[in-house]
Amino acid sequence: MTANEHIVFIVDDDARLREALIELLASHGMNAAAFGSAGEYVRADKPNMPACLILDVELPDINGLDLQRQIVEGDHPPIVFVTGHGDIPSSVRAIKHGAVDFLTKPFNDAELMAAIHAALDQDRERRAELAELNELRQRYLRLTPREREVLALVVSGLLNKQAAAELGISEVTLQIHRRNTMQKMEAASLADLVRMAERLEIPITHSRRAGGERT
C-alpha cells in the first residue's frame, strides 16, 4: 500500500477535527483531502484513484445523509460516517444506502483505520470489477452482428443444430461463427463465455426445449 494508490476525503465543519484527522492519517501514511462543507467537496476535483469519504452528519450547508443520497447514484467512494451524536434512524439509513461504517465521535484510532481500510478495499474491488467489465465490453463491441446473434443463442443453451435452424444457416457455418466468437471474447470454454454474457447482461432469449420455439 503506497501513498499514491489512494486518497481519503474528509468533510467536517470543525476545522480542529479536520486538522486532527489529516494529521492522524498522515501518521498512518495516508493521503487526505479535507473540506469544510458538502458543497466544497462536491465542487472539488477528485483524483481517479481508490478513495474513501469520511463524512460528518452535521454540516453547515446540507446534512451528510442528504449528501450521501445525492451522490449514491453516481460513481462515488465508499462513505464512513462520523457524528457527534449518532441516532439509530440516521445510522440505519446511512448503512442502507451503502455506508461502510457509522462512527460516533470521539472515535478511536483502530476503528477509524479499520473502516477506512475496508472502504478503500471496497473501492479497489469496485474499480477492478469496473475495469474488467469495460474490457469485456470492448471485446463484445469487436463482434460482428452475426456473431452477437450466435453468442446470444449459444449462451441460451441451444444446440448448434437448433441455433443454425434458428438463424437459417447451416450447422457448419454456425460452428465457424461460434469459434470466432469464442476467440474474440477470449473465452476458454463455453462456461466462460456464458459467465461473460451474464456480466454483459446479454439476455437469454431461447430455450433448448420446446424445439427451439421462442418462449
Partner: protein, 861 residues
Amino acid sequence: MWTQTLFQYRLALAIGASAAGVAVSWMTATPIGLVAPVAAIFLFARGGAVAVLFSVLAIALAGLVIATSFNLGGFRDLTLTWAGFFVVALCIGAIVAVSATPGADDHQTAIRPTAQKVAPSYPVTGPTPEEKAAPRQSPIVSINAQDDEITAELMLAASFWGGSPFHLRYWRNEPNGNCRWTEVRTEAFHEQNGIRQWASVSADLHGQRSEVPLPAKTASSPPVDDDAVIAAKFVEQLLGNAWAFDRSGRPTYLTPFAQAFVSVTLDEFQAAADEGLSFFRRTSHPDEYDHIDAAWRHSLRTGDPFYIERRIRRASGIFDWNRTAIVPTRDGHGRVTGWYGASMDLDAYRVAELALRERERELSQLVDMVPSHLWRLTPDGEPVFYSKRMVEYLGQDVADADERCIGRLEALIEAIHPDDAAKFRSVLDRCLLTGKAFSMQYRLRRADGIYRWMSSRAEPMRDQDGRIVHWYGLCHDIDDQMQAEAAIRQRERSLRQLVETLPALIYCATPGGEPIYRSQTLQDFLGLGLEETDETDETGRPRLAGTLDAIIHPDDLLTVKERYGQSLSTGEPYALRHRLRRFDGEYRWVETRAAAMRDPDGVIAQWNGVCLEIEDQVRAEEELRQVHDRLARASQAASLAELSASIAHEVNQPLAAIVANSHACHRWLSAEPANVERAKITAERIIRDANSAADVVSRIRALFKRSTESRSATSYSDIIAEARQVMADEFVRHSIHLDIEVANDLPLVKLDRVQIQQVLINLIRNGIEATDSNSGEKVLRIRVLRDEDVIRTEICDRGRGIACPERIFEPFYTTKDRGMGMGLAICRSIVESHGGRLWAQSNEPIGTTFSFTLPIEAKAV
C-alpha cells in the same frame, strides 16, 4: 144628642121595671116577677153576653125539666113553676134580642146621612197643585173635634170597604196646640186582585177656608116623579154625586155635593140651559168643550149613553180629571124620558197614570238610549222585544220574522255568525232548560252584513212561584275590544315565538330572583317547567334555592349563588359560566347573563336572563389548551434533547479532535525513526483543544449553575474584544461588516466573564443570522456606552425585525428553523442576575436593536 137622651131614658125605664118585677116576685113568692129584670138585662146585653144569657137560661130550663120528669127531691110543683118561669124568660129574651137587632141597622144607615151631612158642612173643593205636592199624613191623626173624628172614621170605613175615593177636610191638631184646616184625599188604586193600595194626599188649606163660598144650595123643586131624578138619587146614594136631565138635556136635579163641587147651582145651570148653552159649558175645560159638546149633543140626538173623561173646573178654578157617565131613562116604548148620571173624580188616578206613563217613557227612553242591545225572550226562547238600537243594528225587528214565516229565534240565530250559531243555540237551549243565566260571546251580523263580536248576557225573571216569566238580555258590542285583544294576543304570540325560537335558553325572574318564566327551549333543556318546582319543594326550601340546587353543578353552586345573590342585591348585571344540568342528567357548560328590567322609577321589576350553551366552545378551548400543553411539553422535551445534543456536539467536537491528535501523536512518536516535530505539533493541538473543551464545559456549568461566585471586577472592553475575536470567523464567513463603538471611560465592572461573553456571543450570533437573511447592506453595529450608573450595550442589526419584542424572551420561543428558543431566555436571566436589564426594540426602517445594561456597582444577587 137625642141618642144619648134616649139611652138614659131606656136605662131608667129598665131599672124601674126590674125593681117592680123583683118586688112583685117577692110579694107573690113566685118567680114570675123576675121576668122584668131578665128582660132589662137582655135589653142592654150585646153580642156574646146575649148568647151567654140564652145558654144559662136554656141550661137552667133543661135542668128543671129533667128534675120535673124524674120528680127529684119531691118538689115537682116548685120545679114546674121555675121551668115555666125560664120558658117565659127565654121567650122574653128572644123578643128583646130580636127587637134590639134593628137598633144596629140604625147605626149602619147612619153612615150615609152622616156622610151626606158632612159633605155640605165641609165642602170638598179639591186641592191645588201645590196642595197635592204637600206631605202625606194619616187622615185620622190628630183630628180636632170629637164628633168630626167619629165622622171621619165612618167615612174612611165606607171608603175602605166600598173602594170609593175619600175626601175630607178637618181641623188638624198641631203639636204646638194650634189647629189647622187640612184636606185629605185618599184614592184606591185598583189592581187585578182587588184593592191593593191607597194613596193619600193631605194638604194644608189654612187661610183658604174663608174664600170658599158656602154652598147650601139645594135643588129647587125637583120633579120627584121623574125617572131620571129617581135614578139620579140612587146614584147619589151610591156615589154621593149625581144629576138628572130631562129629555132635552136640561138639568133637573143636581146633588148639593155636585153643585158645591163646581160652585154652580142648579138654578144657574138651568138658566144657562134655557139660554141654549150646554150643561158642560160652565164646567168643562175650554180646550175640550167643543169635543164634549159634540158628543153630548150626539147622545141627546141618538139616545146613546154618554161616557167621557174630561177635566172639570172646580170651584177653586182648578181643573180635575173626571169620568162622566150619563145614561138615558126610557119609557115603556123605549123612548128617552130623561138622562141621569154622575161624575167620578179621576184626578189622582189620572195623575198616577200620567206619572206611570212618564216613567214608562223614561224607561223606554233609557232602554233605547243605553248603548247596548236589550232584548226579551219568552220562557220558550221566543224573542218578544228588541231595543231600538238592536233593531237598528240587526236591521230587523222581532215581528219582521213573522212576515218571513220563520221563527223569531231562527231569525235571530240567522244573524249570528255560522261558526257561533250552533254554540249559541245549544247554550241558549241549556239556559232555557235549566234557568241558569245565559252568557256568551259571539259574532252578530250587522244590517250591512258585517259581523261584529258581541258579549251577550241574559237572566230570567221569575214570578212568585219561581216560574220564569221572561228572559231579559243585554248584548254589548265588544268588537273593537276583541280586535284590540286579538292584536295584543297576536303581538304577544309573536313576541313569545321570538323568545321561544331564539336559539338561547331564556328565563325571567322576580326582583327576588324567583323564576317566573322559562322559554320552551330552556324547559326542554332542563326537562322541567316552572310548575314542577313549586314555591317550596318537599324539604321546604324556597323555590330559588331548590331550583339552583337541582340544575347547577355542585361544584359551581356556591359561586352561582354568591354571584346571583350579589347581582340581586346590587342590581348589577350578572354574567357567569357554569355547568347546567340537562334533562338527561348531563351537565353542560353554559354562559348565563342576566340583567335587571326596571320600571320608570328605576325600581327593578324583573330579571331577564339568557343562557347560552357553550359546551362545545368550552370543550374546544379545553382541548386546545391540552394540545397546547402537550405541545409545550413536547417542544420542551425536544428542546432538551436538542440542548443535550448541542452540548454533546460542543464537547464532542474538541474531544474528537483531541483523540485524533493523540493517536497521530502516538503514531509519530512510535514511528521509526520518531517524528518528534510532528508529534510536538499534535501535542500542542491536543492542549489547545482540551482547553477549548474545558471552556465549553465550564460555560455550560455556569449556564446552569448561575453562580455569582465567579464574578470579579473585569474590564468590559476586554470582554467585548474577546467576543469580537471569537466571532471574527463568522463575520468573515457571512461577509458582514462589524461597526463597533466602545466608550473609553468604562469602569471595571464586577461580572461573570463567561456568562456575559455568552450573552454577547449569543446576541451577536443572532444579529449575524438576522443580517444574513437581509439582502441589503450587511452591517452589524455594536455600541457600548456609559449611561449614568450603568453600562449599556446595544447590538443593532438590519435584519427583517421581530414581531413581538417581548415574546422572544420567553423560553422555547424561537423564530429560527433550528433553534431551541433558550438563547434569549438564558441571556435575559444572566443579565438580570447581574442586576441589569435586557430588552429588544424594532429599528426604523428595518432591524432590531437588543440592548442590555450592566450596573457599574453590580449587586450581589
